[in-house]
Symmetry: C2
């Protein structure tokens, strides 16, 4: 039984006769179900035991070749021309399409557009929402997906080694880093990382982080300007492979001597991650919230604030411990304060961090596969912070 | 009156007391209104004459600095910890947030998530949908936006010159292109384009097209493999600048002698574009559908099919004539069969093309600004196809 057969079964069990999903190439759920991507929105329908997609005439040829579905229908079956921008025409087409496949009671996800739902309802088709079952299905990776993710993380690690080596080979003059005779900036390191990954066939749809000093204290600050000695440099790389699976990895480096406070932060973060790994070694009976709780506990013991000890803090550990990775950089499950199961086949990050506005940040992030007897870490690179 | 004041006025005129938009960094509407981007979903509310955003604690510090709004509220005001993945918690927070700003009758866009709408309604807040007024506002670019788009297109043109020069400098051996002694592939040209644009501070969030031969007959095929002489090579480049505005430009090249049929296609496409430009010179009384109609007319006169002469065709002119460009690669207005106004301040592409499955494709694309007395073409590069 493949992934869409399961969804087909659930539709019937829930008393519906169709399940519909719309989106463009920003919808990874749609790609997961159809193996097809398009810049303009298209429609997936599961009905009458079949997977059907409805695409613009422009995409018909490519969809016939690439989409892993039973039928590809062009919107030109229902209306002349290219209707990608005409909302009313699109809804009429959708209604006729649903009629063609005998759909009278349609199941959609909760993020289905309200306006479209109201128009379809006004045409006599019933609509009910369901929690995102595709997100649910995507949590457990197939062997093929695990292989793609492992490869992506290996490439990410090689890119990280590149970044480290640039910092390593730099000289320090008046507190600033110089690489091959020129000032070394966040931008220059990011460029090397990007070109390296580009050459391996990776895309970097989101910004790479090379954040130094105070920038590193803001977890999503991507960094800019000259890199400085004695300051934390957070490098967080998350490229997407040709197969569309993300890598995601973080290390923190300090060139030259690190201030005492940074060393303490690093030690706390490292311990928090190690304790999380120990817990995971117990196997998949451990809950996500226990892993996150353990990380908070260790960091709090070291005297740092966390969101559970102080929900308003902008200092200390101010994010969750990790997240699933796949076709999306962030996907289910989240390793946070929710009581989620960790099941064999899930691929998640473990990324404790500490952020002190006037000092900077430390983050260490590995990607792991949850297995029957614990986990497999896709990363091998050392977590040494100090680079001389 | 700035862009959000206008929206605020419309909310009142429509009898609502708040307007809400949610999204992450894939929502350019949200960026347009707030000048803020985040990888996880956040909320924009216009109420009580103010622009307010609701963000996770993780984003609070960065939002305080970067967002151009009146207030930044952290979700930690309502609930402990990081609730990014907990749907129920998110809806409770949203309800409390709306209450804090006195919202009882909420206006949302038509793509607002059905599930969230139903939950909010069940808590006693009225919800009404409105056509996407942000899309509407974004059609007319500010002077600053025009400047960003012109710059992006200039950089895109320089990248196109790079690609052309690689093809130009290639030798032909047994029908294949060789560049600097090695076989020249689609991938290699794409790499050069990407690195060139990366170095200018551009992102390439979507795939660059370098499609040769039969691949070029599918408008969204990104191309692969060795480039061949006597075959059309469609190069379509659409990078996004640091200011987040897209360039978008296409040229078609043929190395060596081109077959007669290709020459005819090229001539037809060129004429279609020239006729469209002539029409636009009449100034902004011309409708988008007239421009598209003219392009179809010229191509049909040359004996090719179009979607208006044959809605089912996968051969001939199988897309619309152009589209608005801005924070999105494709945005309103569309230059298609809809009777849309073309107003001064709009920035659109003009990209007629012809695609014949067994032969290949030809497309020429410029980006223009609609002005009071016609248009300004951001492109200068020649449309010569043949490269010797």
């Amino acid at each position: 039984m493949d992934k869409t057969d399961k969804i087909g079964q659930e539709i019937e069990d829930n008393g519906f006769d169709g399940f519909l999903l719309q989106g463009n190439n920003s919808s990874t759920d749609l790609y997961y179900l159809t193996s097809f991507e398009a810049p303009d929105s298209f429609t997936y329908l599961r009905a009458q035991g079949k997977d059907i997609i409805l695409v613009s005439p422009l995409e018909k040829g490519r969809a016939d070749e690439e989409a892993e579905v039973d039928e590809v229908v062009s919107t030109s079956r229902y209306k002349k021309g290219d209707n990608r921008e005409d909302q009313d025409a699109k809804r009429d087409i959708l209604k006729q399409f649903l009629e063609d496949y005998g759909v009278k009671k349609l199941e959609v996800l909760e993020d289905f557009p309200l306006g479209t739902a109201e128009k379809i309802r006004s045409k006599g088709i019933e609509i009910g929402t369901v929690e995102n079952k595709v997100i649910e299905a995507r949590k457990i990776k197939s062997k093929q997906e695990v292989e793609y993710l492992r490869e992506s993380q290996k490439a990410t690690e090689r890119a990280m080694e590149k970044a480290k080596s640039m910092i390593e080979k730099s000289d320090v003059k008046v507190g600033k880093l110089y690489y091959e005779g020129e000032v070394l900036s966040s931008e220059k390191v990011k460029r090397e990382i990007k070109i390296f990954l580009l050459d391996q066939g990776y895309q970097l749809p989101e910004e790479t982080i090379v954040a130094c000093g105070r920038n590193s204290a803001k977890p999503h600050d991507t960094g800019e300007g000259v890199l400085e000695a004695g300051e934390p440099i957070i490098v967080d790389i998350f490229p997407r492979s040709g197969e569309k699976y993300f890598g995601d990895m973080t290390r923190t480096f300090v060139k030259g001597g690190a201030p005492e406070e940074l060393k303490k932060m690093k030690q706390a973060v490292l311990e928090a991650q190690e304790e999380a790994f120990k817990l995971l070694k117990q196997g998949p009976t451990v809950k996500a919230s226990e892993v996150h709780g353990k990380v908070c506990e260790v960091l709090e013991e070291h005297g740092y604030r966390t969101l559970r000890s102080d929900p308003d803090t902008d200092s200390g550990f101010i994010h969750s411990t990790g997240h699933g990775v796949g076709l999306d950089l962030h996907e289910a499950p989240r390793i946070g304060d929710k009581n989620e199961d960790l099941e064999p086949g899930m691929v998640v990050t473990l990324e404790p961090g500490l952020y002190i506005p006037d000092i900077g940040g430390i983050r260490l992030e590995d990607m792991i596969l949850i297995t029957e007897d614990g986990y497999e870490n896709f990363n091998e690179m050392s977590k040494e912070m100090r680079i001389t």
